[in-house]
Point group: C2
Chain length 447, copies 2
Amino acid sequence: MVIRPYGYRIWELLQSDLDGKIKDAGHENACFPMFIPESYLKREAEHVEGFSPELAVVTHAGGKELEEPLVVRPTSETVIGEYMAKWIDSHRDLPLLLNQWANVVRWEMRPRMFLRTTEFLWQEGHTAHVDEDDAMRETLWALDAYEKVARDLAAMPVVPGEKTPGERFAGAERTYTIEGMMRDGRALQAGTSHYLGTNFAKAFEIDYQDADGNLVLAHTTSWGMSTRMIGGVIMTHGDDKGLVLPPRLAPYQVVIVPLGRKEQAETTAAKAHEVAAQLKAAGVRVHVDDKRPQLSPGFKFNDWEMRGVPVRLELGMRDIDNGVVTLARRLPTEEGQGKETIPFDEVAARIPGILEDFQAFLLRRAEEFRDSHTRPVDSWDDFTAQISQGWALALHCGRTACEDEIKAETAATPRCIPAAGEADSGACVRCGEPSAYGKRVIFSKSY
Amino acid sequence: MVIRPYGYRIWELLQSDLDGKIKDAGHENACFPMFIPESYLKREAEHVEGFSPELAVVTHAGGKELEEPLVVRPTSETVIGEYMAKWIDSHRDLPLLLNQWANVVRWEMRPRMFLRTTEFLWQEGHTAHVDEDDAMRETLWALDAYEKVARDLAAMPVVPGEKTPGERFAGAERTYTIEGMMRDGRALQAGTSHYLGTNFAKAFEIDYQDADGNLVLAHTTSWGMSTRMIGGVIMTHGDDKGLVLPPRLAPYQVVIVPLGRKEQAETTAAKAHEVAAQLKAAGVRVHVDDKRPQLSPGFKFNDWEMRGVPVRLELGMRDIDNGVVTLARRLPTEEGQGKETIPFDEVAARIPGILEDFQAFLLRRAEEFRDSHTRPVDSWDDFTAQISQGWALALHCGRTACEDEIKAETAATPRCIPAAGEADSGACVRCGEPSAYGKRVIFSKSY
């Protein structure tokens, strides 16, 4: 996967916000090696079993065959665990709150741009704590941070919840997830947070002396959000004309297209840069499209629509005569609004509010879409019908074997046990056995 | 190499400044794959010859042997060249100004923390231009940006210049470097910028239609600065007590150590946080060391000296009674100053200036050290004597074979032909043949 500048800028905007949240909560960034000795992975049995099929392996380096093959990290619990063990001696060293921004590799049989790529970028938080309580607080803190990034920046109304045992991270005691609905009705796992219990602490001897001098195992967590979020933004809001970007993650929030040819083009371009300077001063990311005289206005309008720029301002000689710019939102018809004009001296004051409204509109639209494509189902027929168009809320027995049957037959998997789900119980939608979890589970096809 | 949070913070501070410079000059960040098909590297003959001995190779992935081995990028000219060829059609597409922040791998026989590590972090700029003039402007722009980062942030008074042909980047027409002197008298190459001519354009078919419709090869550049700079900072300013950090790259510019036990500790800690809040408001990165009651003040003082914190403030009950804090700079004796006291109400106003003075002092000290360890030499005896303690400015014939002899005998290499060097010529210090370059060359041992 190559991420071109326009896409990478979306990632930088997300990264900047999430990095701030991570640091404000007391975590520190660090950098661990990308190559992990194969033997490290083997120390945690479930972990190596889960990741083995996806590993890329370096066998030769510096012109020689290596004595021990090196795995390119699929995730870094093992190498960070090795160092946590060295750095933690006393309860005074806890909590240890680390994060790293890194690339990881998971060999994909069916790669899909942004969503499933062999190499991807992410942040991975790795923390160690004195006990389960403190580690669980951390696990849920990360989940909450991810929900906020998804909702507030990406306008993705994700559902936080716990994964069923069959869908847990390899080596975790509990895995939490935020799940978003894409416009084809499928679910996207947009971030996960794991309470690892003492599994990795045991495997890597991450222990500490408590206040009484006893040697105790630490409880660890890990959590990650990745460039998959770029795919999430595209598939939550996009349409047949291309991207629709939420303003807070848009590389350009406003593009100004000056119109006219020759001298007129110079006049409108000059005015466009004047307006752009005002918008920039108001904190708006703005671009003037005046360097492509060979392209028609219509081509440019389509181009920026395809790129999902939230607001386009057109500026022709008639606009200048009238003292206005002409504004078009990326989704004017759904808003019930066509083009409108804004006087020059109101542009800088009004655009920030228009962008905020557009951000809120996208979140609301995505919420409505999700809610209208989510339905409780109580029979297998209803289940299969609902799965073909969206999310099914179903009672489930909790047996992994039953999950596997559902998956084999419908391609749907349990996405999460929603944190906010109401108490409910009864017969499993598939096998009729008594339901588990005390509430309904979201089932859906996914990526 | 593991970079712990304190070291990684230095990198983040450098990265933030350099990324701003790169973007302000019109470059955009992107992300290219870390795995490069071996065949890509082979397309530029000098390039593959230069990097082959240092490559790490992935031969197995997803449980199978790969049909074509994948090289873990040692640098990305080849994979980015492949995409530049796709993206560039017309002169209107130029210049193409790309940058990426990435990890790269060069298998090291003699690794050395920060300076020579198998994996390191860097930014790599990759640009394409219509002609040599524009590409050379870019090459020298990057060199100038690196010199500013080294001088203004790291307080490293580096010497910019061109590499001799024997020291060029594999595949470059011209390589430029900034060279800093470490406190053992050796040179550190702290950043390089390459004019690649049309070498990679030929290998990857990076061509464009000019205004007249002719198909023309683009001229490309590449340039990089890496986590090696963390090592540069340590070895330019450090001493027997540990690090000495220039304030602009110091994770903590000021550490406040409250003194006393029990109730007194609570009183001094409260006052310390009050002072810290004032400093934070004044834009100072400050830390209060009040969470380690088990450690003595002396231990804490040594600890922060080892970590190179520029300014330490001590705060005891007597200081509070006197309405002052006690200040100690990291290098008080060389400054000719011991501890001094500052009234509480002057701390926030005076510390920023003290930090700027300290930054300037470190640059001046490094310049004086470099200048007193650099000497023109005109005989082989003088050359070998000078090489053992610093840099030799020597006339050289310019033959790579002669460079190789010098290296074999003294371990010294030509570091650069300094851009600011005065015109000079005569007999080669080694072989007596007529000198090349029209000026003296810096020879030194290096890392």
